[in-house]
Every structure is written in C-alpha cells, then in structure tokens.
Symmetry: C2
Subunit: 226 residues, 2 copies
C-alpha cells in the first residue's frame, strides 16, 4: 500500500444509499416509493448534466428539489412545497451502506480519505455528521466550488489540488459507473463499486478494480497499490 496516498469516494450511491428515502416517500405515496425514488434519482442526474452543458448551474439542493417536482408531476401526484421540503431533507440523512463505517474506519489508518461529490458543502456536512463519519475524512470536496457537475474534468482536478497529492496517487471510488468512467478518464486509479450486478457504462474506459461492496477494498487495495 505505497503508491496510493489517498482514497476519494463519491457520496451518493457509493457511501450513502439514495434509495433509503423510500420509506419516507411511502408515508406520502403508499406503494410508489421505489418508482418515485428511481425516477427522482434519474432526473436529478440528468439535470446536473443538462444544467452543466447549458452553463446554468444551480446547487444540488435545488436540482434535487426540481427533480422531485418533475417526478411527482409526471406521475400525477401532489408536488406541493411542503411534501417536497420533507422529502428533499431526507437527502441530509441518507443511510450509509452497512459496511461503510467499518471500511472507512479501517482504511483511515493507512490512507487519507476524502469525499468528492455533487452535493453542496451543507448537504455533505449534514450527511457525514449524521452518519458519524466526519472523523474519517480529511476533506469534503464539493462541485459547488466551481459550479459545474461531474463528470466535468475540472471537478476531478479538485481532489489532487485540495489534497496536495498527484492524481495517480489517488484511488477514486464510485458506484456510479459514469462517474467511475469520469475519474478514470481524468487519470485516477479507479474502483467501481458494483453492488447490484450492474453493467459498466460504454464510455471507452474500464475501471482498474471492481468490488461488490466497500469492504472488499481492504482486501483488494494491495493489488492496485504497487
């Protein structure tokens, strides 16, 4: 474990389960939580890409609320501000995946850890504090610094710039395959977390390492850490 000095994690979908909002959605819209959560997440990402290309950045809290508004309207459901407020605030208390805490605890003894995320600083601090993860991380790096979303290359550059290490010394870990493709394109050694037997996106790059849960990082890290 020599050449890798830092491990930088994506947040949403990688450390934290975006679909842990489902029970709260169900409290408003019984039987529709899974469907709503899936459309919501898809639209949230689409809006980050579309706004970035249009040069019309708005922060991830706003984009998350907009995506929820679209989702509820498109399903013919009530989309008033009160319901959206409650549901969007669930993004501040998303559940970490079960193995995240012990994995971060172990890795922290050997490497610098950080988060690189679309979330605002406010959202990331909320998430990480709620999970009790703040002590694990040297930095919570937000795209809000430069006001454009992943997978713009300048986002990935924030990690080496802020951590003060070379890109080749950072293992980038994401469960979002397009984000792993972005990190790999930038030049990070990259790990894709494939929790759900997914298919890696066809973007002409492949990750260096594929794990099915975060704790496999502890086993496999030496293989990419020559």
């Amino acid at each position: 474990m020599n050449s890798i000095k830092a491990i930088v994690f994506d947040a949403y979908g990688t450390l934290f389960d975006v679909h842990s909002v489902i029970p709260k959605i169900e409290s408003f819209f019984p039987g529709q939580g899974k469907k709503i959560s899936e459309i919501w997440r898809r639209k949230q990402l689409e809006y980050t890409w579309q706004r970035s290309l249009m040069g019309r950045y708005r922060d991830f809290g706003k984009v998350t609320d907009d995506a929820l508004a679209f989702t509820l309207k498109s399903l013919g459901l009530r989309a008033d501000a009160e319901i959206r407020y409650v549901l969007v605030n669930e993004y501040l208390v998303l559940k970490p995946f079960p193995e995240a805490a012990r994995t971060l605890h172990d890795l922290r003894r050997h490497k610098t850890l950080a988060i690189l995320s679309n979330g605002t600083p406010f959202m990331l601090q909320g998430l990480v504090n709620h999970a009790g993860f703040r002590p694990f991380f040297s930095a919570l790096i937000s795209v809000d610094t430069i006001k454009i979303y992943k997978p713009y290359m300048g986002i990935y550059q924030l990690a080496p710039s802020i951590l003060g290490v070379g890109r080749e010394e950072i293992l980038f870990v994401s469960a979002n395959s397009w984000d792993a493709a972005g990190g790999k394109t930038f030049g990070f050694p990259t790990c894709w977390v494939n929790r759900f037997h997914g298919t890696f996106d066809e973007l002409d790059v492949t990750p260096d390492l594929i794990v099915s849960s975060l704790d496999e990082l502890i086993t496999f890290l030496p293989q990419v850490d020559l």
Copy 2:
C-alpha cells in the same frame, strides 16, 4: 408571420420517431422491443451529456452503438457486432411522424426550415433523404461541426450563424423538453412538441408554445409571430 424568419427543428423524437426501431428489435428479441428501445434511447442521451462534460466527444453513430451495446448487455442479451450493426442502421431509416411531411410542406412556403441535431451529417442526410424531406430544408446542422452535444449553448448558436438570421427570428421546435429548455435558454422563441402527455423538465424555463403534434404549428405560429 413576420418576425419569425426561420423554423429550426430537432430531428430525433421531433420529426422522426426513434421508437420506429421497435419492429426490427423484435425480429431479434421478441417481446422486448419496447423495453430495449427505451433503455437504448435513454443511454444514448446520457452518453451525449457525459461525453460532452468529459471532453470526450465521439460522434452520434458511435454513441448510438455504445448505448445499444450497454442496453443489450444489461439485459443479458446477445450484443454482438452483427446485431448491433443492423439495429444501429435503423437509425438511418427512422419513420417520420405521420404529420411531418405535410407540415413541412406547408411551412416551407413561408419560412426557411432547417434541422439542428445531435446526428452526424451522414446520419441526418440518410434520414432526410429516406423520408423524402431534403427539399424542405435549407440546412441540416449537426453538432459534429463543433464536437459537443446539446444542450451546450454553442450548439444552438450554430443555427443563427449558419442561417444568417437573429436568434430571436428563429422558432426552435423540439419534442425533447430538455432540448426545448436549452433552445429557450439560448434565446430562441421555442415550441415544445408534447405528443405523449409528458411533463416539461424543471429547468427554470418554459416554452413559448406547446403543441401536441407538428401540424398545430400551422395554426399557432401566428400567435408567437408578432
């Protein structure tokens, strides 16, 4: 019909039905045509946005093939090059929507018409020639000119630059609501073609005109054409 000098159409989903590929898909994968076509189209668009942000443009033919490869793999289906070749070539012979021909024929008598599309010049020429639409258009404008995809603002700038008219003199017509939002953000008077009772994307802009099929343009154009 004075201030609008030109009408610029999106191609895929607006003039031409991307889901007219379904019968050919069914010939390989019976019963799965609709599902495959929907995932294929969604991934195709995602890849245009992701590649644009990564600065890794590849043309729309390649992106369309990549998106199909992902789709088939993700469904556990055969994704060999022969099948993909046949299916991707269907994008050269997509069916126009039924009212497209007569609408273009009528509008052509009053306005300059053009296409502004993610497709390559080769793909657009194939489509338009196959449908017999070539005489209707003064220009087939492709993002391939500047090698980045919609909704990057520079794409929309191609239309006034190439047609030699002001952006406020161009009615932009798209059935893709994020694309209509892009055109409106750029400054075009914009018409959204909402064929399927859809919901307009929440991107902080609204179209000037909404029609449910292209022929309504003939009726409603005077309303935006002050």
